[in-house]
Symmetry: C2
Subunit: 138 residues, 2 copies
Amino acid sequence: MADSIIDSLKAGGKKLTKPRQAILAILESNALPVTAAEVHARLKKARAPMDLATVYRNLTMLQELGLVDPVGLREGQMRYEVRHGREHHHHIQCRGCGRIVDLMLCPLKKLTQLVESQTKFAVEGHSLEFFGWCPQCR
Amino acid sequence: MADSIIDSLKAGGKKLTKPRQAILAILESNALPVTAAEVHARLKKARAPMDLATVYRNLTMLQELGLVDPVGLREGQMRYEVRHGREHHHHIQCRGCGRIVDLMLCPLKKLTQLVESQTKFAVEGHSLEFFGWCPQCR
DNA sequence: TGTTAAATGCGAATCACTTGCAACAAGGAA
DNA sequence: TTCCTTGTTGCAAGTGATTCGCATTTAACA
Ligand SMILES: [Mn+2]
Ligand SMILES: [Mn+2]
Ligand SMILES: [Zn+2]
Ligand SMILES: [Zn+2]
């Protein structure tokens, strides 16, 4: 468990409970963004079962603390991935098999300034996802 | 009602029903993307009430025909906007008041090729949304 | 006008996610 | 260590968005 994560939890008045550690362990062991249901299932397999509501509450809280990033792929459910130790990036998902691949790039630094000057909004974030067909599904 | 829309419906083996025309009229009269519930409410006001399930079925079908584009703003519900007569573009939404503004730009033509060569996926589309704070909510 | 396939309304079902609440467990103070 | 405060959890019930089954219409067209 990274110190920075522990510090963030403490700074937010959050406790480092056992279930919470298990969730973070699952998240950190996963390169790709996972759904609440997937976290829930893996916890059961890992002999650390917990209520799905607890998973949701923790994912929401971790997101509020900025420790995990939400990834919306229009699947009807959200995905989440830990931020710690990874660059801001985006994803592409295959419309056939659902496979997700990390795109270690973000073209939006410059564009954000343009958007801000055009709209007078203060841009706080963005979501960018690609959809297509992977080689196997082509 | 634009001919191109009628043609697309016909090509897809779809009928031009009265409820369907009413939905399309609502969509065409709205510059910004709307939710199924909003369409449903406006139809009632316009004295052309119909079942919410019918609204959903039609929005889904119109999306499959490529006549409307989905807009996902992480609100817990999808939005839709007609494609006809409008350039491909993106949006920004205020985290405070929810206001949505069209961004008449898309920086992703070049990037798409880069993504394709990097991942070997055939990119079919993308979603890009910005989130921030509008001047009134700042 | 008759036939057929698509579309609609209605009600029930699903699905992802949230909430109320009583029992529990961190973790800091004494 | 023990005690106390406060966040946390499990469980069950509740929401809200979206979907489905099915009997009844309606558009399209021969
Ligand atoms: Mn990722
Ligand atoms: Mn738009
Ligand atoms: Zn980015
Ligand atoms: Zn674009």
